[in-house]
Symmetry: C2
Subunit: 128 residues, 2 copies
DNA sequence: ATATAATATGACGTTAACGTCATGTTTGCA
DNA sequence: TGCAAACATGACGTTAACGTCATATTATAT
């Protein structure tokens, strides 16, 4: 189904209309083409774009950070200068990500050892 | 230096007074003992507690989530019932953490491959 | 043709995690 | 003893990421 209006778009992408309009307002989503009437029309790409945004949000990126990288998945970024810029952004995000991964890993083993400690205690102190 | 007032505390922990008072107000930090005058007094433990909170924040936990787990590092949680409760919380956080780790890992390799793609393009299209 | 559903736009409300005054009391030092 | 620096408390302000009306126009089913 190509060329849908906001109702179908939000249903397929699992977001609210408010979210779509908010994203349009901050330039995260290109505001769909409008006909003679005031209505906006969207395509399949808008759906996948919204889904991609959702993925990146779950990772913990802010909408501003997402705006930096999401273009990458949907445009051709021609020219040397833009490509260099995107490359810089990507490298920064990679460094950030590695830090987060490390911190999360430490937290995980912290959790793990605490869990084991509690389990041992409970096993020792009652018949369960 | 044990038994300090808020000025030293915030300097050592690298947070503002507002932050300390906010944490006290939401029960994340025990509000330091007060003398006859209205002043609060804190100890070394408060410093390390603030630092622990900061670590957990960097991982992406909300203050509410932190309140759930931070006690663990500073109290004895005696009794079987409380221990069971904490154990439940820990297990939930472990599952959350594993999900985040997986998502972050995927994002990382996504970034990585994009970076390589851009690098190859730049190498091919100019002498650098 | 008309009632109902869908859309557009604007404005105010909300939560988290504090920042920033304003005002009043306490402490520490010359 | 006097006075600037430190502290306490209260209230209003701020940003992100939307939620929730209210109102007006357009689309659609009967």
């Amino acid at each position: 189904m190509n060329r849908m209006r906001i109702g179908d778009l939000t249903e397929r992408a699992g977001v609210t209309q408010r979210t779509v309009r908010y994203y349009e307002s901050i330039g995260l989503l290109p505001s769909g083409e409008r006909e003679g009437n005031g209505h906006h029309y969207y395509t399949e790409e808008t759906v996948t774009r919204l889904q991609k945004i959702d993925q990146l949000k779950k990772i913990g990126l802010s909408l501003e950070e997402i705006r930096d990288v999401v273009e990458l998945y949907f445009t051709d970024t021609s020219g040397v200068q833009p490509k260099r810029k995107v490359l810089g952004i990507l490298r920064r995000h990679l460094a950030d990500t590695d830090q987060k991964l490390e911190a999360l890993g430490l937290f995980r083993s912290d959790l793990q050892s605490n869990i084991e400690r509690f389990e041992r205690w409970l096993e020792a102190n009652e018949g369960d």
